[in-house]
Subunit: 342 residues, 2 copies
């Protein structure tokens, strides 16, 4: 009653056929007489046989597995992407090995090598830029494994890339603020973030359409994307200069920090100041519900997986490099309003 470990050999013997015949019967592939197949299937069922996927993988050189590298699965942004990848994978009969790199390059290297050793058929990653990233991604590709970058560093090489129309999303949001009459709009971005830089581009474009320019003093650079950082920078900004009529934070956590600081300072949103965020994970649940640029993480994950499976099926080098965009939408809620009429 301990371990059973039924192999196809047992199934074949019990059914009175050879191993290859049993294999064909179970796989439903090639020529097998109807009654033979039934005998084999019955035998398999009786013995409680479960295919050994490890052996199959070795022989067929297909592991039906892909790897996904992200910074941290407890970050809902990445969890959304992960879920999209998992769903597409599940439908195709694949598994995804999901690993956290905690933005640690040493871990990144370890994990990518692990992916290679495990002979994953493809890799998706969503990690920010790092000097050593390009190198290790190149190694993965040299091992014949297609790589898709999903909202990760655009500076690292990949077969295909999925990102949002980040500058357009922010363009729309800024246009919306401008149309509400706001002119003194502050932007809270994270220093060193390539995506945030592109977000700011979109905002500048909107200003230009109004014949205006973003005031450099109103572009604030946070050290990181934590709530605390948003809180701190807001406090500092409001202590130093005139309060802007609207604030656009390029990240939801930052926006939550702004919200908290504003509350403490007695600034009522949206009456005293409008606020826009990005991400749209908790936005609807905040007080007030936050107007924000929604990132369709689930769709991004699905798209990345689809691109990857295209390459897995067609052979990596058959296809040209593709760059797919998912649409970031402005969701208008209660944290924005018309500018003061003074």
């Amino acid at each position: 009653m301990e371990k059973k470990n039924v192999t196809i050999k047992d199934v074949a013997r019990k059914a009175g056929v050879s191993v290859p015949t049993a294999s064909r019967a179970l796989a439903g592939y090639g020529y097998v007489k109807r009654e033979t197949r039934e005998k084999v299937l019955k035998s398999a069922k009786n013995l409680g046989y479960q295919l050994n996927f490890v052996a199959k993988s070795l022989r067929t050189r297909k592991t039906q597995t892909i790897g996904y590298l992200l910074p941290d699965i407890t970050n809902p942004f990445y969890a959304g992407i992960a879920r999209g990848i998992q769903d597409v994978s599940f439908t195709r009969g694949y598994n995804a090995i999901i690993c956290n790199n905690d933005n640690d390059i040493l871990k990144t290297q370890q994990l990518f090598k692990m992916f290679i050793r495990n002979r994953v058929e493809g890799v998706i990653y969503s990690v920010p830029f790092n000097e050593a990233l390009s190198e290790i991604v190149e190694i993965v590709k040299n091992n014949g494994i297609p790589v898709v970058n999903c909202y990760g560093s655009t500076r690292a090489p990949a077969s295909d890339v999925v990102t949002g129309n980040v500058s357009e999303g922010c363009y729309k949001a800024t246009m919306y603020l401008l149309e509400l009459g706001h002119r003194d709009i502050a932007f809270l971005k994270v220093r060193g973030s390539g995506i945030n830089a592109r977000r700011l581009e979109g905002c500048k474009k909107a200003f230009e359409e109004f014949g205006l320019h973003v005031h450099p003093n109103l572009v604030i650079e946070a050290d990181d994307f934590t709530q605390h950082s948003g809180y701190l920078n807001t406090k500092i900004m409001f202590a130093q200069s005139k309060r802007p009529s609207a604030l656009f934070a390029f990240n939801e956590r930052l926006a939550m920090g702004v919200l908290k600081a504003a509350k403490e300072l007695g600034i009522v949103i949206p009456n005293d100041m409008s606020l826009i965020g990005v991400d749209d994970i908790m936005a609807e649940l905040l007080e007030p519900p936050l107007t924000s640029v929604a990132i369709p993480t689930y769709e991004a994950g699905r798209t990345a997986a689809s691109l990857l499976f295209n390459r897995v099926e067609k052979g990596n080098n058959e296809l040209p490099v593709r760059h797919m965009l998912v649409e970031e939408l402005l969701k208008i809620r209660a944290s924005t309003g018309k500018a003061d009429q003074e």
Copy 2:
């Protein structure tokens, strides 16, 4: 420049040794002369050799992989557990295959069978009870695979179980409310949830210590654990009966729904009513910051993984069944206050 696919055979040939010797050198196992090892390692490095883990797994019957089944990775509660499992696994050189069942029993069966086919060395699950769950869990166990239940259905069999001291956590929270002078305390639970039933037990115990009883009318059963459900039930309750002086929702989403309903009804928390939640995922970020019973999901995941690896190492049947508790703590914030003095 296409696929390289370097095997240990190539490494051995280039180093001028036999394959088994190369294997020993690379694994750092058994007798290998110092210079031989160096030759092999150099050869491996030059060729860009990466061990084929599939082949190794087949031979050693160790896949260094475990499976984790959860309802949905985008739910931060499960993401926390997943992260704990992943971290312990990573440290041990294992991978976790994480799969969502969406509370669908058909998927559950498919996924558990997939775990068996993939020859995972252990399985952890966090899924609610379902008639067919016991059956499939039993099949997994019969295949010699240890199973650990982490905050899942306690009615399904498993080698080991990890849960929180759920009734104690709620006992503490209720004691706190009682000590603040509250007597009309409403409880919002989810119908059919075994864990929520145990939570209520803890609350009742606290009442008994005060020589009181929970009023049955003040135990409200929600259909599910969504924010909407919390919102709806609050509206209904407040329309029908006298408003309680405190409300205890056994789930954060429910509590957020209560918060929203209260806001709409002009009920100020905590002045007009105290509110306590469970989970403590976003609690700190809500307005007002929510007093709640914190579930240490990350720790629970780590604990579950540790239990599992004990069995993986020691052999499944060597160890007695263990039930580990992680401590749920009451975090006091701004949503609770003294009862009215009327």
